[in-house]
Symmetry: C3
Subunit: 277 residues, 3 copies
């Protein structure tokens, strides 16, 4: 069965970078299958890459190799790494983009990444798995694509280099629960918008599943707006009003029906979201 | 031989949605082949999806599954459907995006879709062909991709659910022929611009093949402009002047040589086009 | 082993053009593999297509077919051609987009294309390798995709039509070396920016490898700016200052660390670059 390699980069789709990476990989493993996750990561935005891969990686067949090249440190001393979890492989620069699989979660909520088991991390140093010449500016081609293709042929992860015990951990914002302090006050969850999708829907870092039983009693505040219900579908929301829903990753999502909520509400990533219940 | 699944969505290419759908499908059928038709359908624009699939579906191998997720009603009562024609399968929401294959054409012109034979339509209700958990917001992943992948493994369409006899028919604009009323007047065809492509070429809903014999005698009016010839190639047109040509779908197309006609002429979808002959 | 066909076009990714070309090819050769290099070539920009393919073609497996449709002359007398080099095939219009493989290089520097050996060029005239009906506006579908797919099944290049001895050669800008004229003056290389990538990095036509030994003594002038060093990595550059580096194609690249140099410096393709050493 063909191995699957996914690609997530900030290379865009106008230039030749992504095509060349695939050409390099097909030269090493002609039967490998590619799936593009996104090449539209904002240039050098490792946080966006982190969320894209975190949201995606579990939906692929066991054994899939997730190749991610968002690499502002290319050519510097930052390490190229390979991480192997129970079911998946991750190849890219050691700048935190994969840290959802190896950090001890600080979140008070159950982590979607629990269950990956022990994750082994290796530095890519073994030159026989690179292209013969390493450029200063395109390790996506010379190191990462080449190593991913060799991995897809069945090379053992430990053959690529020495174990890494201190991979970079990205400091992503986690929601905080502030329990009620006295009679008459309410519990509070403090979170923020961590991702805005193509439709302008505002994805927060607040797991929404636990909110549904409280549905009638919650109040969501974002900017100067208050939202007091959780919808069961986009179409059941009132027109033109900010509404909320449990999104397809179990997170609280704020939207405006058939509109771009980010634009309508003038909200960007990082906007605070407060829930009282 | 590997089955082909095409994808047409309004998910864009920045987010992880399309990659995840492919991951889900490869988990069910590792040998399936994907072809992206477009993920740049304007959000919720079912008319644009209709034209894109109508223009495309016949150019694929027999047995191809056309998966289309432009789904403003996700999570509501709108039905997920599977349509099977003589040569192709169509999977997506029942909102009219596939109606070119099952409506009785109102057009006075021969339909490009004639020849699809009897089309059977089924509601997707059989949960064993879905992902185990169905979200409220991403049926592209949980229902449509999963069902398409199962269909590609050879499951019979009738196993997915009950027959649907009243699929939604989209009310797309059709051209009208107004025959000459009296001596000295001319026949008239009234149509409109239904699609504008990347180059800014204006695709109308008027079949142009029948116009060629009349080439010298026709007058095309659009906005305040009059065009009086049908070109044989883009390059034979005069610079900077609106010109017309038989496009690659047999439709009348209005263009400006090496320019963006939509922008140059200030024309949008829906603009009326009148032909006198 | 499956043959690889790469695609480079100005068709964009919103319309159905690229998907249809792939559908046509899968109908002829169901096992062919596709790699998209770029569909975001500016409409009709044959120079941009030239650089994209020149930068990319060598990174693919031997036997790869490079299909390129940037074709302002579609429907006119311009010839459709197939070029076969030692390792690769090229299919597209005869408008110079492939001329890097068959021109005698005017550049004073060693050419990256040397080693392609004798290149045979054929006009595509044999109608059995086309679709049955040839439109006036979409030869990408009716001629080029169809011919590429037939070629991928093992048809000999000479079966497609008569040899072409005078393929169109694009007049791309080449750098010029002006040797020192007298004591006290310096050698000069005159080049220009030929490509700007997604990150806003300015790719020149000046091979930079020969500059590294001179590293300390060179001065690069672009617009009103002077750059006096060649970096070893993007990250070693000073913030906000135009810097230079040897890019991954061996060319001199001018960049601003973690910024869009094209925008920051107000520089477009064609801007002159002068090196004194």
């Amino acid at each position: 069965m063909s191995k699957v390699i996914t690609l997530t980069t900030d290379f865009g789709i106008s230039d030749h970078f992504v095509g060349i990476m695939k050409g390099v990989m097909l030269g090493i493993n002609p039967s490998v299958r590619f799936v593009d996750i996104s090449h539209q990561i904002e240039p050098q935005n490792i946080f966006q890459a982190y969320y894209i891969i975190k949201f995606s990686y579990k939906y692929f067949p066991s054994g899939t190799i997730h190749l991610c090249v968002v690499d502002p440190g290319v050519g510097s001393a930052r390490r190229p790494i390979l991480a192997a979890s129970k079911d998946f492989y991750f190849i890219g620069p050691d700048n935190g983009i994969f840290s959802f699989i190896f950090r001890s979660e600080r979140s008070p909520f159950p982590s979607p990444s629990q269950g990956e088991g022990r994750v082994r991390v290796f530095e890519l140093t073994e030159k026989k798995f690179f292209l013969p010449a390493i450029s200063q500016t395109f390790h996506g081609r010379d190191i990462f694509a080449s190593a991913a293709a060799h991995l897809s042929t069945g090379v053992n992860p430990s053959e690529f280099g020495k174990p890494v015990n201190d991979p970079v951990i990205l400091n992503v914002p986690e929601p905080v629960i502030v329990p009620t302090q006295s009679v008459g006050t309410r519990n509070e969850i403090q979170g923020e918008v961590v991702y805005i999708d193509r439709f302008g829907n505002l994805i927060t870092n607040i797991p929404a599943g636990i909110l549904y039983p409280l549905k009638e009693q919650i109040q969501i505040k974002i900017k100067s707006k208050t939202i007091s219900s959780l919808c069961k579908s986009y179409s059941e929301a009132e027109d033109l009003k900010p509404s909320s829903i449990l999104d397809s990753w179990g997170l609280l999502e704020i939207f405006v029906k058939n509109k771009d909520a980010g634009r309508e509400l003038g909200i960007k990533k990082g906007e605070k979201v407060i829930i009282n219940f």
